[in-house]
Symmetry: D2
Subunit: 389 residues, 4 copies
């Protein structure tokens, strides 16, 4: 048992999925010095990263409903070309050790009374922190996209929520149930999925009361990342976008979940919000998400932009993005863990708007341009490091 | 003859080309209130544009080696779908009037002794300013791309240059000859082509002595615009670009000129400088420029980016840009005319680094990210408007 | 009034739409010798076209629910870059004359009892043939895509159909109502839309009895054309297609109609049939059709094919097609008019399977490869010309 | 030592390259029944393949200048995602055995007198045939692309060639030297590269005299394959192609060789011949080949086609092909080995025009359409099987 004071815990909801596994393997590899810092924003030379948790002070645990152990999942990801086989082999022991810190949760518990489930999660978080001597534990939801959720009166304030939770029926979507348990356990929460998370008013209020920072939602890893880089080009050049159509072909994992139309419309809505925000006006933007199992761990997005130039001349831009979701998401999860832990240490509370750079649907943030979001992130990180600046 | 004090002249070198004609037609249309401000950066709501020349105070003239009058060229551009026929018809009289302010220059004059040519140009500029009551005239080179130029000892300082110019042989490439004449006539100069322009040391020194501002070079209207929007996305996300290949298919006009291999390599060099600058490291970046007459006034650029994500996972981005060069360039020419005129009025001198936003190969500028360039432009424009800010 | 014996009539249902207008203008231009034969298959040097109606023997008329006269519609198409303005101007008189042969039909008539409507259409066809001395009139439906239609017992045989038609309620979708009227008037019928047309058993039987040839359905003008050229490449090379995703962005006209989900699914079904047919196995093929008004008369289709090579190596093909539907459809309509007229003259009856080359969803045809369809077309045309071959 | 009568030898020139290794591994896997027939044309259900050599009667050997043994190269290909690791592991012993049949050749021998080299190669072929009881050995050149070769008077007829070969200096490019040795040893020869091979008049004459069949050249594995499928679509539809631009980004292997400009122009020439042949007219077709090491074993081709529809309407098609050269080439090499062996057995001699389907630059073949080439291949294979048909 290790108990170095000052360790930072990262608790992954969905720890055995593709994103969770890549995050875990990557954290081990970076800590061991056997992988470069590619994809890690907090490791950029220009990033004001002093004071962030060190890689070898980061200890990862989590929950999952899936029993497949990390080493086996990592093998599968290596077979699919997502992670290098050499890393999986070299870090086999460490991966198995990390897997021992993941607790399997039965799918059924989410469909009955939720108060005991939240209690159970909070206890797990507490034990994890204590066992590993973590000064704090950041909980990050990297599980599959959940169906869109329509809040009711019981989600308006903490009291109504507590009352409803004592009833026999499920009250919260899974992302919010984990958020609730995290807040109860005094842990900052980050929603990396498009779920409701802390965004329900009752939970946002709870976070405020508990003095906890939180962030979300929906990690920006592909088409929306591109859009947030490209849309400001059109606005800064006064080029008028007339339509911006898109199609996303997703392989396994999230693809399967999103084949469920309702879930897809949740993601679609967050993408559209982002586009309108970035352009500053509503634009005709048909968007489709298809599950294409043959793509495996990969996704392809095609965007078609029809815009007007001077005197109304019609022009087009097309973009095809072929990416691996896990390899794009995992380093952001690690960046978020470090930044949110540091924010917690520094006493920040409530939604961390400066983290908009990482999200498709950033909470309370009007800025959808990527470069501006990056500048805001750097400025915030500088202030975290040196409050006078 | 009109002589309102406070008018601003815009003298286009290559006034009867596609860019020149679209610029002229557009300026007339915007001044007449019959075209929207699409593409005009200085007309954006957020742009601090107070104090810039008003559209109806802008008077356009120029030089060209081509005899085809503007109305006829504008007809051809309407036929090609570059500008709306309705505008060409509605502004036929004004176009013909503007054409009367364009002087045809014989191609041959550039190949003999250049001192008299410069003298002739300077006289033309002076007469134009006087006749139209222009407080100042901004000279902008929108002619075809010229062959790469290798400076010699005679281009090192003003004295050597003056001496060489008195000789019988041509000393300066055309862009620099016009720049020299403009400086002699007290006019700010902008090189919208990849030419040498004021960048020869002798001319930069002359501009300094004359207290004149200048800007350049090579208007950023397509592939490089995209690259300057996309490259910062890769750097801010710590994604490692391994290769960035590109091909440009250009129709008429510049396409024909660039078919000349030497000229193409001039443009290619400026594009590569831009990419390396934006990424911060050298990248494998094969680039081709082809003349494809069947594309007419249009150009298509395809870029293929191969980048590494976390743990080295290979991903790709492809971009296809289908644009009309003239419709992209013309509003920038008008923006530059207004901004450089205002800078001149405000007493700015030397290279205007804040205009990097407009150029593929901005003079003396280390910042190649589009959003950062835009921020710098806005900050500069705010200071022009209100020196205290 | 002209009455040359041997003239061939072409009656367009939807004559004032984009396809109808381009067909009419093109026929006039080709007859007048002022347009090249681009797009006309029956004019290819290798095509055995002897015996087909001559261009100046073709007389066009039609129906439409829209009042906008042809010359005005042609102007709009010229503005949109679909047809050359010079042709519209040169053939203004001829276009106006042709418009005089189009009868406007009230939209309402289709929603009440249909027997009298069919009667009215048959009378119009007869009068048209007589007035212009047409030996035969080919009726081609180029109107908008109609909603998918589910046949009932009354569509099983001619007798049931006749009985139902005498009732007060509409019995046939519009494409089939026109087909019925055409057959009644002794005219061959071609459905260029994805409608039911003659494919209802009752109508197919009627055509058989009347000894009339017919063809359809859904003109192959874009994505499906490409697919029928590319799919045989994969099969001939034994490359295994794992997924073939597609998205269609359609501007005006058909785009607006297809925005209606039901109508879209009709088109989608015919595309999928075609793909499975061409590959010889079912493939994961998500397909979307979006209406993007900003595209005007243009459409863009993007296809993404994921296929396996030797030993299962994953590869991809992407295709982007940017076409103008009317310019692709119109010459096929003219080819079909000539070929079906000739088939009628030669005594062919029933579905013309050899015309599969022209259709997305060819009637009774197992061959979906484009080259094989072309070979079959040529062989059939040779037999039409010379029955001994 | 095995000596079953009726075995067929396949001798690969460049046996340890990516194509050679994938061919060898694939042949072993297919013979062992552990890989599907994906990519093998001769295994298609419709292919008249009776009488072709059976997979377990095929014995592979070869030459290479490279010492890396096959198992190690196969490991590298598995790491690169070209072949499945499971196959490499399962067939490790067999691969090592096959590697024992590859003779390493010193690079230097090709730069001195060539008669003894040819003699040596012929002896190797004879010994290989005898040792493995091969009724015949097909020699296939799968080595790197060689520089374009300009034939001289010594390549005009066999006698001049023999005389020149006795001199001290190299006379033949490597592909032709191997072809010469193969013919001398009584072996059919196939050039899978764009080299001169048997196409020099002296060698074609030698093959004729020896009664040997041969085939080539330049395996059609990517962009040209696509072009031969797409070009007939344009011609059959009478759509006029105005330009067809292309760029090829090639990773390792051939990419490195082709970076050598001369070698690239050899490949470029064969691609252009193919395009003009398929369209039937010359078209503006700029083409580039770039070596992009970051692509590894993969290649990406982008084609941009600008074509005219009816009345001259401008449209475009873009295609992006992302393939793995070895996985595309290897099954064709195996198909060719079987087909050429069978042709030899059946007494065919001279260039096998019916194999045009497999080549970018098919010898003596006017047919460049893929479907027509496939039909011709099937017809020929049927005749091989049953001469009466």
């Amino acid at each position: 048992m290790d108990s170095t004071p000052g360790r930072t815990g990262l608790w992954l909801v969905g720890a055995r999925g593709s994103v969770g596994t890549t995050t875990a393997l990557g954290a081990l590899a970076v800590a061991a010095g056997v992988a470069p810092a590619t994809g890690l924003v907090t490791e950029l030379p220009e990033f004001p990263g002093d004071g962030l948790p060190r890689w070898d002070d980061l200890v990862i645990g989590g929950h999952d409903v899936v029993p497949t152990p990390l080493p086996k999942k990592a093998e599968a990801l290596a077979e699919a070309g997502v992670v290098p086989r050499t890393l999986v082999t070299a870090l086999a022991t460490e991966l198995a050790g990390l897997d021992g810190r993941i607790r399997q949760v039965d799918e059924d518990v989410f469909h009955g009374p939720q108060a005991p489930v939240a209690e159970r999660i909070a206890v797990d978080l507490g034990e994890f922190a204590e066992r590993h001597g973590c000064a704090r534990v950041v909980v990050i939801n990297v599980s599959s996209t959940e169906s869109p959720f329509r809040p009711g009166p019981e989600h308006r304030d903490p009291e109504s929520l507590e009352r409803a939770l004592r009833g026999p029926r499920p009250v919260l979507p899974r992302s919010s149930l984990y958020a609730y348990a995290a807040l109860r356990a005094g842990c900052p929460f980050v929603d990396f999925t498009p779920g409701a998370g802390v965004r329900l008013p009752a939970l946002a209020r709870l976070a405020e009361r508990a003095g906890l920072p939180w962030a979300g939602s929906d990690g920006k890893t592909g088409e929306t990342l591109l859009r947030s880089a490209l849309a400001p080009m059109f606005t800064a050049r006064a080029l008028h976008v007339r339509s911006w159509a898109g199609v996303n072909l997703l392989g396994g994992g999230d693809g399967a979940t999103l084949a469920d139309q309702a879930a897809a419309s949740s993601k679609v809505a967050s993408k559209e919000r982002s586009l309108d925000g970035a352009l500053g006006y509503r634009v005709d933007a048909p968007l489709h998400i298809d599950h294409v199992p043959a793509l495996g761990e990969w996704k392809t997005a095609w965007d078609h932009v029809r815009f007007d130039g001077f005197l109304g001349t019609a022009m087009t831009l097309q973009v095809t993005w072929q990416g691996c979701d896990s390899a794009l998401a995992a380093p952001l999860v690690l960046d978020l863990a470090r930044l949110v832990a540091r924010a917690h240490e520094a006493g920040e509370r409530g939604p961390l708007r400066a983290l908009a750079f990482f999200f498709k649907d950033p909470v309370d943030c009007a800025e959808h341009g990527l470069a501006a979001q990056y500048d805001a992130l750097l400025a915030w990180a500088r202030r975290l490091r040196d409050p006078a600046c």
